[in-house]
Structures are given as C-alpha cells and as structure tokens.
C-alpha cells in the first residue's frame, strides 16, 4: 500500500464507507460528519457520495474549540442548548430518509482540558434523542468509520515521529478495514456472512450463560431467554442494507444483568474519558461488580460506575474470534470503534433492547454509561452453558468451535 498516494488512500476508504458502509442510494441526502481535522477525508467522502448519485451532501463539521468557548464563557442556559432548527434538521433526516456517514478518530485531549467537568457533563445536545430515534426506527442508512489524523496518530504511537506515526496508523486502518484486499467489499461480505452464520449457530444452542476461563479470569455471564447475537449489517425499514460500523468483527448481545458471577481480568488497556486503565480486575457477585481494581486508573472506573444503579452491571457481552484483524495487530487505538473489535468484551452500563424480545426487553440493564472492556485472548476459553447444565465449547485458542 505504501506506493499509493495519500489522496488515493482516502479515496479507497471513502468509497468503502459510501458504497459498503452507508450504502448511499441515488437521490439521497447524505449527512457527513467529522472533526474539522478530518476535512481531507470528509471531502473524499463527499466526492464519492456525489459520484454515487447523492442529491445533497450536508456537512456537519464540528470544532471542539467552539464547544470550549461555550463551556468557558457561555451563560448557564447556553449549556446543553439546542436551536429550534437543529430539531428541524433531525426531523428532516428521518422524514426524507437520509444516509449518515460519521468519521471517528482520536481528538486532541488538551482542547477541553481544564474546563469545569460539571458544565462539560451537562453540555449534551437534547437533539441527540431525535437522531437516536431516526436510527432505532431504521429510517436512515448509516455508518461510522475511522479517520486517521496526525492528532490520533500521536495518541496511538506517541514514541514515533509524527509522519511515521501517521503512516503506520493509516496502514493499520487499511489493514483492519480490509482495504489491503483486491476487493475489500467481497472480503467484508465473506467475513460478515461467516459471522452472521456463527451468531445464528450460537443462538441455536439457546445458551443460558457464557463461561470465560483463562489466566485471572473465571467469569459466568447469564443470558436472557431471548438474547440473540447480532453481527455484521443492518437494514432500514425500506430495505437498504448498511453496515453501522466499519470495521466490525463482533457478535454481540445483551446479557441478564442479575446473573454475572466470578472474576475477570482485562486483556487490554482501556481509555475512560481520557484516563488509561491498565491491569484491570473486576469481581462480580449476582450481577454487580463488587470490586474494581487496576494497576493504574482504577478510581476513574469506580467513579464512573457509581453514577447510577446500572453502572455496575453488564449491558453487553460480545464474542470476537482470532480472525479479527484488529486483535491480530495488537495495537491499542484508544477509540472504541476499533478497540472493541479486538477481542471478546463485556460492557458495564446500558444494554441493547433490539437484542431481546417480549418480557426480556424490560429486564435489560439501564444506565447512563456504556463502557466496553476487552476480556478475550487466545488463552481465554469461552464455553456455552445450557439450561440443562451441558457445556459446549464456543471459542478455543481464538477459533470458533460452533
């Protein structure tokens, strides 16, 4: 890939996000969102949208310095304020069935440093609820993809020269997005097809729980009767297939928040709001995380999980096999889009209602937080436990057994 120009690399990533990720349709309005540092990729994405027949590309550039000005100098009623027309925009997206492409990457943590954490915490736009509604009602085809930038490269590879760090991040993003394949879309179709089939076979077992065993880990995670594993793509109500995350390597569901027991050791560092946790160990009793310890940063996770009742219970359990290219790289990206696809993981906090049905919808975990952490590795075995007590191997040495 090294012989490709930067423009050509952006064009290939943009084409994957437009054609495969969001699957932009002729005549659609497309909202393209990214940090102003992502402008080169935003332009490449916009160009691909128009080539795909988009009628309009709505730009949504965000600039953290404008947020900083608001937190620093705004009055109390400026915090969390939304204009009436920003609601019109979200309603238009739902009514006109837009496509949405969001670029994600590490941002410069110093921009918001030193601001009042209380005002920062309250500065959430109430319009987000409208956007989530458009997504949950399946009115929009959407994707989130990575955008390599110098700022992000410095976070991931702090010991390297800036140019070399950016070059390495680009090649890693290309590898995990399968852009190093002759036909990246065919490669993704194959991978996601396999994952969907695997998720279906796990569902067929109707496991009552999953058991994780490895160095420092002996954890049983109870499932709800209707918990279903989801992988790969999604479809709008009108039948437009799309892939909400590029890359995506996981099969995930929402567990029973009252039935988690045992000890678990995180297999990768994780970033919680700018603080890096290493050597994390958590002990669960009857669904609750009763002790949270870490070599570094433990107090931040203890504070976060104390925010509400559901903060110490699980909302997600996800299985990732050794074929995951993110896991194979071994790089910590400090960016959930990539890191959560590196290995099997669990998340403290909010669950997913679309993973369950019937009465179970009321039983999933509810919280303001959702913090993923990696617990899988080649030496962590995953075993399914049926209601009758039978044990079925699911992952051994990173390879599917189902």
């Amino acid at each position: 890939m090294a012989d490709l120009t930067v423009d050509e690399r952006r064009r290939r990533l943009a084409r994957l996000l437009v054609g495969f990720g969001a699957n932009v349709q002729p005549g659609q309005t497309v909202m393209v969102g990214g940090d102003i540092d992502d402008r080169e990729l935003v332009r490449a994405v916009a160009n691909e949208c128009y080539l795909a027949g988009a009628r309009f590309v709505e730009l949504n550039y965000f600039d953290l310095y404008i947020k900083r000005a608001r937190i620093e100098f705004g009055g109390d009623d400026s915090i969390g304020y939304a204009t009436t027309w920003s609601y019109e925009q979200a309603r238009a997206a739902a009514a006109e069935k837009w496509a949405i492409i969001s670029l994600s990457g590490g941002t410069d943590p110093s921009i918001l440093a030193g601001l009042d954490p209380d005002r920062l915490g309250r500065d959430n736009s109430p319009v987000n609820t409208e956007w989530l509604k458009a997504v949950s009602e399946q009115l929009v085809n959407w994707t989130v993809g990575p955008s390599p930038s110098p700022v992000w490269a410095a976070v991931v590879h702090p010991d390297m020269e800036p140019d070399a760090a950016l070059e390495l991040l680009w090649s890693e993003v290309e590898r995990v997005c399968r852009l190093d394949e002759d036909d990246p879309v065919a490669s993704w179709e194959q991978r996601m097809g396999d994952m969907v089939a695997t998720a279906g076979r796990i569902d067929d077992h109707r496991f009552d729980a999953l058991h994780f065993q490895g160095p420092g880990t002996d954890l049983e995670v109870g499932l709800l009767p209707s918990s279903r594993f989801i992988s790969g793509g999604s479809e709008t109500a009108d039948g437009i297939p799309h892939r909400p995350n590029v890359p995506s390597e996981e099969a995930f569901t929402t567990p029973d928040p009252t039935r988690v027991n045992g000890e678990v050791r995180a297999t990768r560092p994780l970033d919680v709001g700018g603080t890096v946790l290493t050597g994390l160990r958590v002990r669960f009793e009857d669904g609750r995380a009763v002790t949270i310890d870490a070599d570094q940063g433990g107090e931040v996770l203890r504070a976060r999980t104390a925010i509400d009742d559901g903060g110490v219970r699980l909302g997600e359990v996800a299985l990732v096999d050794g074929e995951s290219r993110i896991g194979q790289l071994g790089t910590v990206f400090y960016e959930t889009l990539l890191d959560e696809n590196a290995a099997c993981h669990i998340a403290l906090g909010q669950g997913f209602d679309y993973c369950v049905s019937g009465d179970d919808v009321g039983r999933i975990n509810s919280s303001q937080i959702h913090i993923d952490f990696m617990i899988g590795d080649d030496d962590v075995d995953v075993t399914g436990v049926t209601g009758g007590g039978d044990r079925v191997p699911v992952l051994r040495g990173g390879a599917w057994q189902v």
Binding site: R39, N47, L51, A54, V57, Y65, R70, G75, W85, E88
Partner: protein, 399 residues
C-alpha cells in the same frame, strides 16, 4: 495574524459590527480555513451574553465535488429545512456574522461556469428577505487567511504575505487604534453627517473632473445618500460591512454623460481590467476601452438592458484607509471602499422614497463597481439652475 489581533477583530465584529445583544442566538458563517477568527468570534459572542453561537463551516472543496461530479438534479438543490432555518432565524431575531476572504483558487479553478452559475440555492433568497425586512442584525467582516494572502501578495513567501495582509486588514479595520470602536464611531459620525448634507443639497447631478475624467452622473430627486449603518426593525443599530468608508446613493440610470477613467485596476472574477475608460451617452456606456481585459467588461455590460447603466454612485474621501494602501484585495468588501466609485448594473431601491423614482432605479443581473476617484479628481454637486458646489477637493470634503 497573532492571537491578539484575531481577538480584537472578533470583538469588533461582535460588539460593533453585528452589535450582539444579551440572550441573542448568533450564527457564524465561515469557510473552512477561517477557524481562528470563527473561534474568537464565538468566544467574544458568549462573553457578550449570547445565548448560543451556531458556527457553520462551509467547504468550497465539497462544493467543487458537487459541481464536478453530482447529477443535474443536485445543482441548485438544498434540503427544505435550510429555508425553514432562515425563517426561524428571522422569527427569533438572531445576529449573523459572516467571515469574508478570497477563496483558495484551487477550489474553483476550471469549474464549468454554467453549472457553477446554475448552483444558486433558494436559501440565498430567504436570507436576503431577512435583511430587507430588517429582522436580523448582521455583519460581514474581513478575515485574513494564508490562501487570501497568497492571492494579494503572490511575490512574497506565504507566511510573509499572510503577515502583511493581516497588518493591512488590521489597519483598514482600525485595529491599530487604542480604541477601535471609538475610532469607528467617530468615522461613522462623520460619514453620517456628510450623507445628511449631501441629501440636504438635493443635487440634480454629481460631476467628476480631472486626469482624463469629465463625467456627469444624474441623481433621482428622492434618492437618499447613506453610509453603511443599519438599524433592525426592533431598533438594534449595527454596521453590516467592516471595513467601510463610502457614502453612496443610487443614481438616475438615464442621465450619465461624459468620459471616465478608472483610477484603480478592476478585478472581474480573476481577470484584471487595467487602464479602463468608459464613455457614457444618455445613461448608457457606449464605449468601453482598456489596456487589458476590456472584452470581459464589455461582455458583462451587454448581459442585459441595465448592465450598461449605473446602479450606484459612491464617494470616498482621503480619510479612507483602503485607497492609501494601493493594494488590490480581490474582495469587493474591501476594494469598493478604496476610492469614489460607480457601479454598472443593479441599483439600491431602498434608498429611493418616491414610488415613481423607485421605478427608475436601474435593474440588472450584474453589479460591477469600479474606482474613479483620487485626490486629483474634483467632485462637484450640480444644482438645477446650473450652479456648482464643491464636494471633494484633493480628497477632502468641502461641504
């Protein structure tokens, strides 16, 4: 441009230009590349008590992608909520601050002029309505950028060019004064006084003479003279153009006669027109000649009936800071304030009180200003009885 200058420019746009009020919503329109001033404007607006600052970054390279690669149905289209947004901005009486600079030519070079011309969004009309109905307090302010500096000073290394342009903009925005707002207030007081005096004289025509120019521009009986200070329907005074130096009116498009020689080069979308002379008869430009670029102006002036007649007459005195720099900025906001000027094309109907005069105001799809004033050009007011009153001598007001 250093941080202090950026902050002073932002304070001027917020406190004096748009005159942002406590609890107002402030829209900031900025092309990408103008972030430093956009951020400073946001901070200044919040410090002035703004309820919320909504910064919209536009991207000329995404527009380029549209012109180059989009289908025909995309040209001129904007989602309907964009028009709704304008309507709500009017209802909520927002303030609007737009950052002006010359675009990076790489964003527009070689684009199909037909598609570019056809890409006119209905949102523009909705915005003009807010201005005409005086629902918003607004300001367009010059914003130095490296891309703009490279255009203005192509022979300098880009960082030196940027530094020089920044200093020039600081100068013409009077940021080198201890109290720029006080300096502008003094200047506007003077310009307002001059426009009132010009109005009181009720001249029948204005005569320019000297250095190859002998031109009479007839005025409409009920046309007023004005400078660029506005008041919203709710009474918020504001200054929509910074910088500005002109006192202007809309002339009688049937009564322009004589010869005029342009005193500065004229830039028409990238083509430089130099050594321009224009001869008028009965209001029409009948001969357009130049050392270079004449055919471009001739093409524009023949576009429609009103394109060869005058829509604006503006006087700038020697106190104006832009002309003294002798720099072409490739930005109408600044360049049209360099010297006394006339404009071929559309007139300014709001300056005319009498309904019958309103019908006479020139109408055209073009509006091209060109500079005709200098200290060597005398400007006289002509009364109906043939007497003359000196207006400008050596660049100084005589009234």
């Amino acid at each position: 441009m250093d941080d202090l200058l950026t902050e002073r420019l932002a304070e001027l746009a917020v406190g004096f230009g748009a005159n942002v009020q406590a609890d107002q919503i402030v829209m900031v329109n900025a092309e990408l590349g103008r972030e430093p001033l956009a951020r400073a404007v946001a901070a200044a607006a919040y410090r002035a008590g703004a309820r919320y600052v909504d910064v919209t970054y536009a991207d000329a390279f995404v527009r380029r992608a549209k012109i180059e690669n989009a289908g025909d149905e995309a040209i001129g289209y904007a989602p309907p909520w964009h028009v709704e947004r304008m309507k709500q901005m009017g209802e909520q009486h927002v303030a609007v601050i737009s950052l002006e600079a010359a675009l990076d030519p790489a964003a527009t070079d070689g684009l199909d002029p037909v598609r570019l011309g056809a890409d006119q969004s209905p949102v523009r009309q909705a915005y003009l309505r807010l201005v005409m109905e005086r629902l918003i307090n607004w300001c367009i302010i010059a914003c130095p950028t490296p891309e703009w500096a490279a255009r203005v000073h192509p022979d300098l290394p880009v960082d030196e060019a940027f530094e020089l342009l920044s200093q020039e903009i600081a100068r013409v925005c009077r940021l080198d004064e201890d109290d720029p707002v006080a300096a502008w207030q003094t200047r506007f007081d003077r310009l307002t006084e001059i426009s009132e005096r010009l109005g009181e004289h009720r001249f029948e025509a204005v005569h320019f003479s000297g250095d190859g120019t002998d031109l009479t521009v007839g005025l409409l009986p009920s046309a007023e003279w004005a400078c660029a200070t506005f008041t919203t329907a709710e009474g918020i005074s504001h200054h929509p153009n910074l910088p500005t130096e002109e006192v202007f009116t809309t002339p009688d498009p049937r009564r322009t006669d004589g010869v005029v020689r342009s005193t500065k080069p004229l830039n028409i979308e990238g083509t430089m027109v130099t050594g321009l002379t224009v001869r008028f008869e009965g209001g029409r430009a009948v001969a357009i000649d130049a050392d270079g670029g004449a055919e471009v102006l001739r093409g524009r002036a023949s576009r429609d009936d009103g394109a060869s007649r005058l829509g604006e007459l503006a006087l700038v005195d020697g106190e104006g800071r832009i002309g003294a720099l002798d720099t072409v900025f490739y930005s109408t906001l600044i360049d049209e304030n360099a010297a006394s000027h006339i404009a071929l094309g559309s007139g300014l109907g709001y300056l005319v009180k009498d309904e019958r005069d309103k019908e006479q105001v020139n109408s055209s799809s073009i509006h091209i200003d060109f500079m005709i004033g200098s200290p060597e050009i005398d400007v006289d007011g002509m009364n109906a009885d043939g007497t003359r009153v000196p207006v400008l001598r050596g660049g100084e007001w005589q009234i």
